[in-house]
């Protein structure tokens, strides 16, 4: 693995190939020399190791002993990487023991250097902790050298205050070296260089964010996503892989619930290569909100555009140029104009497919044949003109960031390496001529930089600097000069950065999204699977033109990635390039920031940081390696457009309230809404009847976000909830009526299967099966019964004679059973059960009637249902947990069967798992009148309460030292118990208690809270 440190624009350096030839002879000599001394299976440096203490004043030194060869033996394209070198032959190791404690090394560092004599020789230097298979701590691998620019050393530093004391292995890789020019190594203590001045602190409060992910099946392969927002509809458009997704946010609740839909265009959902999406809403009043999507292809990109958020697409000609080998990008915006209003560069707007003129220029850029080229469309992306070179590989890196167009039509295409600097290619004449403008303070980086342009043309340039830090620069003269260059990750301790993405709003406001890790080391961005860092999504925001930035971790407690984020393209090890090459950032009409990224760490274990392979560190082996689409959306704080800033003393926004009916109870749960910058102090829950009265149902502390209303019988209630903070009570949630969730205990029970309407062969609606349901309504006598309910399209009297409405299934004991309603020749109705043996070839089997079903079996022509009640004992006596499977329904009429459901090759998964009669009993009423008093002893509390139920099995006592939360269950008591003595309390402490009852059907709501201060 060579490090990308070739100097730009120099000549006369020795190439690697020429050095291969030069060292070949030397290598042969070396082999001869080695043979004369005899080979060793492994060989260390001489001496093999040494110790350096914090107070040492003289360096430790050693010399190499390997025979050399390096690149000669390496396959083409894999030039002497460390993991391929052979110890004693093409690499050797010096073991450096660092003494003292980490604190002893404060302000100091160890410079490790290897030197040799000849410029044609080349070694690389790698330093690991503990052993050569341990974490890579530092490395140095500069490239070609020449007699006119001799480079005869590699050096790097160790900071034991960060990486610890103990054993380090210093490994020299003989990239192009022989015994004839052996290296000399040294380790010297030096003072740590003074840290760069800290960026000026911001006085602003960081905005707040919410992360959104689509349901499974959508956005599962979402590396390097891009996105835009239609400012008219508010829809966010997102592309990654083969899917174009439309995301709608409902801002009537907070956080706004999101709806994700796949709206992929036909020609961008077939093959995926560097997909890109651009919504023309970035700059200027001429924004059209047209969204373009494109997939990289050979001759022309596969491109479509939509004016209705993906409902319909128009297929474009595509790039019109060879879209080339890598990193296409699409952008657009106003044309640059001459003072007289004409378009610069002689550009002429053309009619689009609808005959209308598109107001903006649309640009497509990619690289091919060593050139980065750009083509302009003058008809809204329908066709593109001739490609114009922006730069060559000799000038800049081939890859580039995304096109941005300023309100005045200036075009910017960012690049991570132009002459060892980062910068932008700028065109002020609608893409006809280009100038490269770099940031002097920058150094070449690993990932594409990004540009955001304010409404006044201020350019914000975000880049992952060569040292891995997230830096930003500001220009007010189209990149000619830059100011306010600073590390926006410093305040958060970010040491490593990838995937910068910048967006601006008002001229003095911009946001910068990047993935960052507080763990240092370039290996975190390269190929080292043992990199022990975690990566999070950070968003830095400026409100003063880039003078100061406030930075927030927008994915707190949930890493985007554990271990390395490999930026080495197709040479990355498996599972390290899941995030691919870039992310995106945009802004909506109200100035909210939205960031798009792929989440590589989605499982509970990964998020919590479980050391899955037990190697003692969290690295790539503990990452999921997923690429789940994710959008970060700003929920609070100042916006990128000052006109939409929330008021200073804002109240909480309306929570999102969900209500589900569970028997007679209603379960309510609500979101923690945007708090307006002041912590939530509590919630109030209201219940009412439409057109009638409304009352406060309960008040809660800030930690409570759910409630069960056990007194919801007798009315069609709605619910609403409000949140409060120090500024007052916020707006209410919407009124919500409970939805009914299926329960085997209530109603028809669970839906087991459904069948199409109108598929009865005889077109008799009474033979047309619609659905089958099974329930276990509670029986007070403890009997175990199942209720099968068949729903038909239209069950009418008189029922057709000689007909069976029969449900077949395999019992929990493996035997076949049926239950049915049938009519005889005269139409007389009976309800029966029996056994059934299904033929192995799925043809009709043999059924035997055993007897009649239980009382309660019936049919209802009003509800078009047939109710079949059967005691469990009649069907093999299945118990709770037992499963009835391979269930199907037939409706035979004499010799024909006009309808059936799940009959042909019955799906064995169709069935029902019993929960048992007890589980369906009503939950007990809540206890009340809880009183807590200090006991006789100094370490006891006595509780008393009223028992309001006659069906409880237990009472549960909970305790906390805070009234509003933190309760833990301290006792489980039997039925009818009304008192409890807690003798596990500390003295002089205030405790809060609450009690609830429970049975197999569930637990009651809580009693009142009682408190007491112990003696």
């Amino acid at each position: 693995m060579r490090h990308n440190s070739f100097r730009f624009g120099t000549s006369g350096r020795f190439s690697r190939e020429s050095r291969r030839v030069l060292i070949a002879a030397g290598f042969m000599l070396a082999l001869l020399a080695a043979a004369s001394f005899g080979f060793h299976s492994t060989r260390a440096s001489s001496p093999a190791g040494g110790t350096i203490n914090p107070t040492a004043t003289t360096p430790v030194t050693w010399v190499g002993t390997a025979t050399g060869g390096g690149a000669i033996n390496a396959p083409l394209g894999l030039i002497a990487p460390e993991d391929l070198c052979q110890e004693g032959l093409t690499c050797d190791t010096y073991t450096l023991t660092v003494g003292g404690t980490a604190a002893d090394w404060s302000g100091k560092q160890i410079r490790v250097k290897i030197e040799w004599l000849l410029p044609v020789t080349d070694f690389d230097l790698y330093i690991h902790k503990d052993s050569n298979s341990g974490p890579l701590v530092a490395s140095s691998g500069r490239g070609a050298t020449s007699p006119t620019d001799p480079l005869t050393w590699e050096d790097t530093t160790i900071d034991p205050a960060i990486t610890g004391v103990g054993v380090y292995t210093v490994r020299a890789v003989y990239y192009a070296a022989t015994l004839a020019d052996q290296y000399r190594g040294s380790a010297t203590i030096e003072s740590k260089p003074a840290a760069p001045p800290a960026p000026p602190p911001s006085t602003e409060t960081a905005p707040r964010y919410q992360n959104y992910q689509p349901p499974p099946g959508l956005g599962d392969s979402a590396g390097e996503p891009t996105m835009g927002v239609n400012w008219n509809s508010g829809a966010a458009m997102f592309i990654a892989g083969l899917q174009t997704l439309r995301v709608k946010f409902d801002d009537t609740a907070s956080p706004a619930p999101a709806t994700w839909e796949d709206v992929s265009a036909s020609n961008t959902s077939l093959r995926t290569l560097d997909p890109i999406l651009f919504t023309d809403s970035d700059a200027g009043a001429s924004r059209t909100n047209r969204t373009f999507v494109s997939q990289l292809a050979g001759k022309a990109s596969l491109m479509s555009f939509t004016d209705d958020d993906g409902a319909t697409w128009t297929i474009s000609q595509g790039s019109g140029i060879n879209s080339g080998v890598d990193h296409q990008t699409v952008g657009g915006g106003p044309y640059a104009r001459n003072p007289d209003g004409s378009l610069k560069g002689g550009a002429v707007q053309l009619p689009g497919p609808n005959g209308q003129t598109y107001p903006n220029a649309v640009y497509y850029a990619s690289q091919d044949i060593g050139l980065a080229e750009i083509a302009r469309s003058d008809n809204g992306g329908f066709t593109f003109g001739v490609a114009i070179p922006m730069w060559t590989l000799a000038q800049c890196n081939g890859l580039h960031g995304h096109i941005k167009v300023a309100p005045d039509g200036t075009i910017y295409v960012p690049n991570k390496s132009c002459g060892e600097k980062q910068g932008v290619a700028v065109s002020e004449d609608n893409g006809l001529s280009w100038t490269i403008r770099t940031v002097e303070e920058s150094t070449s980086g690993d990932t594409d930089p990004s540009v955001g342009i304010g409404s006044d043309g201020t350019v914000y340039f975000g880049y992952a600097d060569g040292d891995g830090h997230a830096r930003v620069a500001v220009s007010r003269n189209r990149g000619a000069t830059w100011e306010h260059v600073q590390d926006v990750g410093a305040a958060q301790g970010v040491q490593n950065t990838v995937f910068p993405a910048v967006i601006a709003g008002d001229g003095n406001r911009a946001a910068y999204f990047f993935l960052g890790s507080t763990t240092p080391g370039a290996n975190g961005r390269q190929t080292d699977r043992s990199f022990p860092g975690a990566w999070y999504g950070y968003i830095a925001t400026t409100y003063d033109g880039g003078v100061t930035w406030v930075t927030a971790n927008a994915t707190p407690n949930d890493p985007v990635q554990r271990g390395v984020v490999c930026t080495s393209g197709t040479t990355c090890p498996d599972g390290t390039r899941n995030l691919l090459d870039f992310n995106d950032l945009t802004v909506d009409k109200q100035g909210r920031v939205l960031a798009a990224y792929a989440d590589g760490c989605v499982s509970s274990d990964c998020i919590r940081g479980v050391d899955r392979n037990g190697d003692g560190r969290l690295d790539s082996n503990d990452n999921d390696g997923t690429e789940k689409a994710t959008i970060i959306r700003q929920t609070g704080g100042k916006r990128l457009f000052a006109a939409f800033d929330p008021p200073v003393n804002a109240k909480p926004e309306p929570p999102l309230l969900l209500a589900t009916k569970d028997g007679d109870a209603v379960n309510l749960v609500w979101s923690i809404p945007e708090d307006g910058g002041s912590p939530i102090t509590g919630y109030r829950l209201f219940r009412g009847v439409e057109g009638g009265s409304e009352s406060l149902l309960a008040s809660f502390g800030p930690e409570v976000n759910s409630h069960t209303d056990n007194e919801a019988t007798g009315g069609n209630f709605y619910y609403r909830v409000t949140a409060s903070n120090a500024n007052g009570e916020g707006a209410s949630s919407s009124r919500v009526f409970p939805t009914v969730s299926e329960s085997p205990c209530t109603g028809l029970g669970l839906t087991i299967m459904t069948d199409a309407a109108g598929d009865s062969l005889d077109q008799i609606a009474g033979h047309d099966i619609r659905s089958l349901h099974i329930g276990e309504p509670f029986s007070a006598d403890g009997s175990q019964k199942l209720v099968f309910t068949l729903k038909m399209t239209d069950l009418a009297d008189p029922l057709t004679p000689n007909t069976q409405w029969r449900v077949y299934f395999t019992g929990a004991n493996g035997n076949g059973y049926f239950v049915d309603m049938s009519t005889d020749l005269l139409g007389a109705v009976s309800f029966r059960y029996g056994t059934y043996i299904h033929n192995a070839d799925n043809t009709a089997g043999t059924s035997t009637i055993v007897g009649n079903l239980d009382a309660g079996s019936s049919y209802n022509t009003q509800t078009d249902t047939i109710k079949l009640v059967v005691s469990n004992s009649k069907i093999g006596n299945p118990q709770a947990g037992g499963r009835l499977s391979r269930m199907f329904v037939r409706v035979p009429v004499v010799a024909v069967v006009p309808d059936n459901a799940n009959y042909a090759s019955p799906n064995p998964a169709v069935g029902y798992t019993l929960i048992g009669n007890a589980a369906c009993q009503a939950r007990p009423a809540a206890p009340s009148a809880l009183v807590a008093v200090g006991g006789q002893g100094k370490g006891t509390v006595i509780l008393n309460w009223s028992d309001n139920s006659n069906n409880e099995d237990n009472f549960f006592v909970e305790r906390s030292t805070s009234m509003s939360g933190g309760y833990i269950q301290i006792a489980t008591l039997g039925a009818n118990v009304r008192t409890y003595t807690d003798n596990t309390v500390f003295r002089k402490t205030t405790y809060f208690y609450r009690v609830r009852s429970g049975n197999a059907g569930g637990k009651s709501s809580y009693s009142n809270v009682a408190s007491v201060k112990t003696k």
């Binding site: 070739f6 394209g77 890598d326 091919d368 001529s433 393209g569």
Partner: protein, 156 residues
């Protein structure tokens, strides 16, 4: 007399040859399309120095030539030359578009100081087709010219 006739014929052939239009060639400075990476590097080492490597098997070579400052070389997955691009010196001996190939057979575009000539050579008898592209801002002299295989695109 025979000698006079021979000299005359030689001169005639020379004149005809010099007047004949330049045909597109699938190579630049000895770097041919489909050449192996080893062979290309041997040739490139002889005429210049590797400046940097890029993703997608691309290399930038500084070359010692009065007219060309750099060669950009891209290889396919089989490590064979996929394209070569020459960067012309602007401060030395200039290269005219017609030095690449006959302009009459080129597809041309001239847009506000951006000139582009493209020649396409179809595949024949086991030889892959290829394309030549010359770019420049000057109407006479080019800044880059490239030769690239037509049978594949390298977009992995």
């Amino acid at each position: 007399m025979k000698r006079t006739i021979s000299v005359f014929l030689l001169l005639t052939l020379s004149v005809l040859a010099s007047a004949a239009p330049v045909r597109p060639r699938p190579e630049i400075m000895g770097i041919s399309l489909d050449m192996s990476r080893d062979a290309a590097r041997a040739r490139l080492n002889a005429i210049g120095n590797l400046e940097k490597e890029e993703r997608k098997r691309q290399e930038v070579w500084a070359v010692k030539d009065a007219r060309i400052s750099h060669l950009l070389v891209g290889y396919d997955k089989d490590n064979r030359v996929r394209y070569v691009t020459a960067i012309a010196r602007t401060d030395g001996q200039r290269i005219r578009y017609q030095d690449v190939a006959d302009l009459k057979s080129a597809q041309q575009s001239h847009i506000q100081g951006n000139h582009k000539f493209t020649w396409q050579v179809a595949a024949r008898r086991g030889h892959t087709g290829y394309i030549l592209v010359a770019h420049g801002h000057d109407p006479q002299y080019l800044e880059t010219y490239s030769v690239k295989k037509l049978d594949q695109e390298e977009i992995d």
